[in-house]
């Protein structure tokens, strides 16, 4: 067991939970605004690709992050256009966007970089690690805090920020109203469509950053389909936590832990396919447990 729970495991935790957390936070915002966004997976993939492309083109990780956010926001706005403004079914729009992401990134990968499957290049700048010498020596949590990317800190800090916004800030209240009672919102002169569009754009940016964490922080390359189901895990978290930001943090952390643990077990000779399947089986188990206890309000 000590081979499993060593500092390397703790250190790798943030890399695993950050993409899931960012995407889940975005998905939760949409959920509170009354949009069922299950295109998190696809938008994440857009973000991962854009991050690599931006970082490669400008030799700067900042450009990579900007590109990822722009691509994500674009994804969110495309969703908003077809679903909120044209009255499309959320699920159908999500399916379209997910397929577009799989095909589009593979297409651009071959069209722009003449690469098939994977693109890596020394010119892709990774997001730098933030070294914290003061806390690095702390037992257990030291390795977790030291040497992580800025996105890890951003993701964690967003939890209280978003929670506060939803509960206290005018925009958060409007966002919730758009989800719970759009008519009431409309009578105050605020368009629920505009609010939903804003929520989708923010969600897109967060998913874009989640993709960037995958492609230019955890590694510095892009692989086709590299979001590999993390967006769906985020959807599960969104469904399970019904928009409670702190619960999302906790659950994302748990899934990150399973991911990290799987990665370690794999190192000990367990076939990769089993550890890869672990998060999905676990997601089903957890979802089943959470749902069968409280009867869900199915719309």
């Amino acid at each position: 067991m000590s081979m499993l729970f060593d500092p390397a495991l703790i250190e790798s935790l943030p890399r695993f939970f950050t993409p899931i957390l960012l995407a889940a936070l975005g998905g939760a915002l949409c959920q509170r605004a009354g949009v069922f966004n299950i295109a998190l997976e696809g938008i994440m993939l857009f973000g991962a690709f854009a991050a690599v492309a931006g970082s490669y083109a400008f030799h700067s990780w900042e450009a990579g992050l900007m590109a990822a956010m722009l691509a994500g926001a674009a994804g969110g706005l495309i969703f908003a256009w077809f679903s909120v403004w044209r009255g499309g079914d959320d699920i159908v729009v999500s399916i379209g966007l997910n397929i577009l992401a799989i095909g589009g990134t593979a297409y651009l990968l071959r069209g722009l970089f003449h690469a098939r499957g994977t693109f890596d290049d020394p010119a892709i700048m990774p997001v730098p690690q933030i070294d914290l010498p003061l806390v690095a020596g702390l037992p257990v949590i030291g390795p977790m805090l030291d040497g992580q990317s800025i996105l890890v800190w951003l993701a964690v800090l967003l939890v209280p920020v978003l929670a506060l916004m939803l509960n206290r800030h005018i925009f958060g209240l409007r966002l919730r109203a758009a989800g719970e009672n759009p008519t009431a919102l409309e009578t105050t002169g605020i368009s629920s469509r505009v609010v939903r569009t804003q929520a989708l754009a923010i969600c897109g940016i967060l998913c874009g950053l989640a993709g960037a964490q995958l492609s230019i922080s955890n590694v510095t390359l892009f692989t086709e389909g590299m979001s590999s189901g993390r967006g769906w895990i985020a959807v599960v978290i969104v469904l399970m936590c019904s928009g409670r930001m702190w619960l999302i943090l906790l659950t994302a952390f748990a899934f990150g832990f399973i991911d990290a643990l799987g990665f370690r077990i794999q190192g000990l000779g367990m076939p990769q396919q089993f550890t890869d399947a672990l998060p999905y089986v676990l997601a089903l188990a957890v979802l089943g447990f959470a749902y069968s206890r409280r009867a869900p309000k199915t719309a």
Binding site: F82, R86, G103, G229, F274, Y280
Partner: protein, 338 residues
């Protein structure tokens, strides 16, 4: 008229694509290459490969149709397809006996496996309140990982150097039409299509399933055997997906290759075809064939003009986006509705 509006949008999309093509000087050649890839080739080779591919896509579309029609969002077709294909390959390889018997057993085993995997998602919804949409989708991943593991490790054809199973005996192959590469799988798909259309249009079961999809509360008030129908429809949907896996293995690849049913997005293309056909069984084969032609045409375009074939997936995604809207024939789990 929301329908007309949607068609206008689609026409608009077509005009944009046409305009882009018009700006490229080599457009006529490219269009030629596209049609050659989809329908041409020596002795119409490409046309038959389009037909062969459409037997898979139409099959997956029928699987999706069956459940969507009744308002069940089973998007776990991929997992059902993969496990169906895998199990049929294993029966083909390891089961002794006369080839015909082995073939039939492989077919039945594939359908059974697909059905079980679909029922599992149904059980998760009915027993544990996990929305079918999420449950069926999440089950795709373990399915492909199980298949991937089996053909990468214990059941791998090691000499071939890649992750794939051994070849099934030649005598058990689905026969091909004389002088073509088209296998009899398309006959199986056609039978399923006819069966689905007849069941949907003329039987009590089809009427009830359709009613269920239009208005679950009306179906409940009418005292339909809702629970039984739910599981029957899921099982049927999964069985069709499993059958498609059998066709892919026994008709086309003659073994199970890791990722062969996942990477071409057969299951998702089936969903797209059903949405394009507006969940109407009569149009599903047409839509499925169109998408098969789109994919083989894009492959032809890649061979001659170097345009990545993933273009086909981009077009598919765009079509869905532009078609979305209007009738909400899919229920939303969680979240709030207006």
């Amino acid at each position: 008229m929301p329908d007309r509006k949607r068609l206008t949008m689609l026409a608009l999309l077509g005009v944009v694509v046409a305009a882009v093509l018009f700006l490229i000087p080599s457009a006529p050649d490219m269009i030629g290459a596209f049609f050659d890839g989809a329908f041409g080739g020596r002795r119409n080779f490409n046309f038959f490969s389009t037909l062969s591919r459409s037997s898979l896509i139409v099959g997956m579309a029928l699987s999706v149709l069956l459940s969507f029609r009744a308002g069940l969002i089973n998007i776990g077709g991929e997992g059902q397809l993969v496990l169906g294909g895998l199990v049929s390959a294993l029966v083909g390889i390891y089961m002794p006996g006369p080839p015909l018997l082995v073939g039939v057993l492989a077919l039945l085993a594939a359908m059974l496996t697909g059905a079980i995997w679909a029922l599992l998602a149904g059980f998760l919804e009915r027993g544990f309140s996990i929305p079918l949409l999420v449950g069926s989708l999440l089950l795709n991943y373990p399915a492909s990982f199980i298949a991937s593991y089996l053909v990468s490790h214990p059941l791998r054809d090691i000499n071939s150097g890649i992750a794939q199973s051994h070849r099934i005996p030649r005598a058990t192959y689905l026969p091909r039409f004389e002088g073509t590469i088209l296998d009899y799988g398309i006959i199986l798909t056609a039978i399923v299509a006819v069966a689905v259309i007849i069941a949907e249009r003329t039987t009590v079961f089809g009427y009830r399933a359709r009613t269920q999809g239009y208005s679950a509360s009306f179906a409940q008030a009418s005292g339909f055997p809702e629970r039984r129908m739910y599981f029957q429809i899921l099982a049927g949907s999964g069985a069709i997906a499993g059958l498609v896996g059998y066709i892919a293995v026994f008709g086309i690849a003659h073994r199970y290759v890791d990722g062969m049913l996942v990477l071409p997005l057969y299951a998702w293309t089936g969903v797209v075809a059903v949405l394009l056909a507006r969940v109407n069984p009569l149009w599903v084969p047409v839509a499925g064939f169109l998408f098969a032609a789109l994919q083989t045409g894009a492959a032809g375009l890649e061979r001659s003009a170097g345009i990545p074939r993933e273009m086909a997936q981009v077009v598919q995604g765009l079509i869905i986006l532009f078609l979305a809207g209007g009738r909400h024939f899919l229920k939303k789990p969680g979240g709030t509705t207006e």
